[in-house]
Amino acid sequence: MIFKCKNCGGNSVYHPEKKRMWCPHCESEDSEELIETEVMENCSNCGAPLEGVTEHTSALKCTHCGSYIILKERVEGKNRADLILPFAVSKEQAVEKLKEEFGKRLFTPDSFLSYSTLELMEGSYVPFWLYDYRSDVDYEGRATKVRVSRSGNTEITETSHYRVVRKLKIDFERIPVDASTRMEDDIMDLMEPYEYQALLNFEEKYMSGFDGEIYNFEEEEGEERAKQRAARDSEQLLNSTISGYSTNTTVHKNVSLRKEKASFALLPVWVYRYNFRGKEYIYHVNGQTGKIIGKTPTDKRKGFLYSATLGALIMVLCQCVNWIVGVL
């Protein structure tokens, strides 16, 4: 399926800054019309074979005509996402953020973020499972408070002993676990947090203009990661309620976790792949908050030139100081 402009017939896409559908050809707003096609192998616009379709692809750009195609059977039935967080950061804004962060670094290669390399920057809706967990924490411990005072030449140590009891109920909402094997878990964890207030019920129009995937594995497979996070956070929240003691020894601790619900959501990420002298640098920009994950690209020749210059200047300055001090 494809969204076409009623006015000019061009491909209408979702505009993150305008927060509405927009035709980049005639600049009409909200003029889209959904053209549905059942065929998955060919472009809904030009009919050319679609390249790069995998078993999980739900939306992509036609390499022939540049239109954004949404694969109908990947957004229906069990493949249909419950929620979607539309892009709020445009490509231009994402590029600007990358420029601010890495472009001004001294050893950044000149070709970084150049027009030709930006062609490879794509916005993607990454599939996530959002888990709700109920955590019941039951704790009992023995703690001490130690007070040391001095009287004359005698040191007095007073140790007060306490029984510490805690019972907590924690409701975790929408713990995200990325359901894409293409995306690294560590990177996706660092993309967080997303502001869930902006989550909307899924609609196809938000996908127009971006790549997309359906979940790569069932919700049961991602459960363990969410459960581990809930358990870890429960422990830390428990510890935050026990303070002011010199020592604390656990007598009894039980963290009980129960899954309440899981939702399939699509969350926005900009991905920029940059190749420099055979090395690939990958940058991720949170499509909602603009948070950046990536490593500074380094032109080692440039780095050597700058560092060697500095070293040489210091040597020259030292020699000059020697000459000047020799006269004093």
């Binding site: 001294l106 140790t159 560092s307 030292c318």
Partner: protein, 294 residues
């Protein structure tokens, strides 16, 4: 290239200024450099190494003589090394009428001053510019071995008490193991201490400036290389409904209190230290100097 020049603009300007001043200073010191000519013709000897204690081989003595000869012409000062192995108590006390009461640490001072005066040492004139190291290996009654650095003329003016202490401590540190090395080091230190402007030891020797530049360049590279961007920005309550857990039970129940007592031990200690000064010899000549004992 534009970015490179822009980045180092201030550095290039500052270095350029320093370079101009530095080269100017270098030219100035070259012009000002004096070629010393010995003008004292009254000295009773040209010998510089008096190894009465016989602590060096003939070859070592000759080597030391040559080193002293080169150094003397570079700094315009006589350098004399004397070793003894005899008590100087009676000798020194025989001069108490002229110079007052002498302590054991001054026995070598009296001998050194007289030795200098008697031979009319001095590069520019009799009793003129020069230094004399007297190292007496004899252990006096107080169980100490004393040495003295006698300074005269411009050496007396240049050498502070701290410099004398430092020179003697450094040069005589290993004199028991290798006397020649110790006396040779003494000559080297005198050469540095009395060097002409621009000819002495540099403030920042190459052995320091090169590692300094290297370390600065390496630090600069790693600092500017940048690192990874992106850190964890969620907390334990990010996904907790209401932003905090619901506490159903929170009790801190006091059980009992235990008390222990300990007597604190105290300690005391004491330290002491001393210093030195300047004087006139039995022959009425002004000498500086300082002692060392081991």
């Amino acid at each position: 290239m534009k970015k490179y020049l822009g980045y180092f603009k201030i550095w290039f300007i500052v270095t350029g200024i320093f370079l101009v001043i530095g080269i100017g200073c270098k030219i100035y010191t070259s012009i000002q450099k004096v070629d010393f000519v010995r003008t004292n013709t009254e000295a009773t000897t040209t010998e510089r190494v008096f190894d009465y204690a016989d602590k060096m081989t003939d070859e070592e003595e000759e080597s030391l003589r040559q080193k002293i000869a080169v150094t003397e012409d570079a700094i315009g000062c006589d350098i004399i090394v004397v070793t003894l192995n005899e008590t100087l108590e009676e000798y020194a006390k025989s001069y108490e009428a002229q110079i007052g009461q002498v302590e054991p640490y001054q026995y070598t001072m009296v001998y050194a001053d007289n030795f200098y005066d008697e031979h009319k040492f001095g590069y520019n004139e009799p009793y003129g510019d020069g230094v004399l190291l007297l190292d007496n290996w004899y252990r006096e009654k107080d169980g100490r071995v004393y040495s003295w650095l006698c300074t005269t003329g411009k050496a007396e003016y240049e050498y502070s008490s701290e410099m004398i202490d430092s020179t003697l401590n450094l040069s005589l540190e290993n004199v028991e193991e290798n006397p020649y090395e110790a006396y040779s080091l003494f000559v080297d230190l005198v050469a540095i201490d009395l060097a002409q402007k621009g000819e002495g030891a540099p403030l920042i020797p190459a052995i320091f400036s090169f590692p300094l530049a290297l370390i600065a360049a390496v630090i600069f590279f790693f600092v500017n290389r940048g690192g990874k961007k992106g850190s964890k920005t969620i907390s334990t309550t990010t996904y907790v409904e209401g932003g905090k857990p619901e506490i159903l039970d929170r009790r801190d129940i006091f059980i009992n209190k235990t008390v222990t007592k300990r007597v604190i031990q105290t300690e005391s200690s004491s330290k002491s230290s001393g210093g030195g000064g300047s004087h006139v010899s039995a022959g009425g000549r002004s000498h500086g100097g300082g002692g060392h004992s081991r």
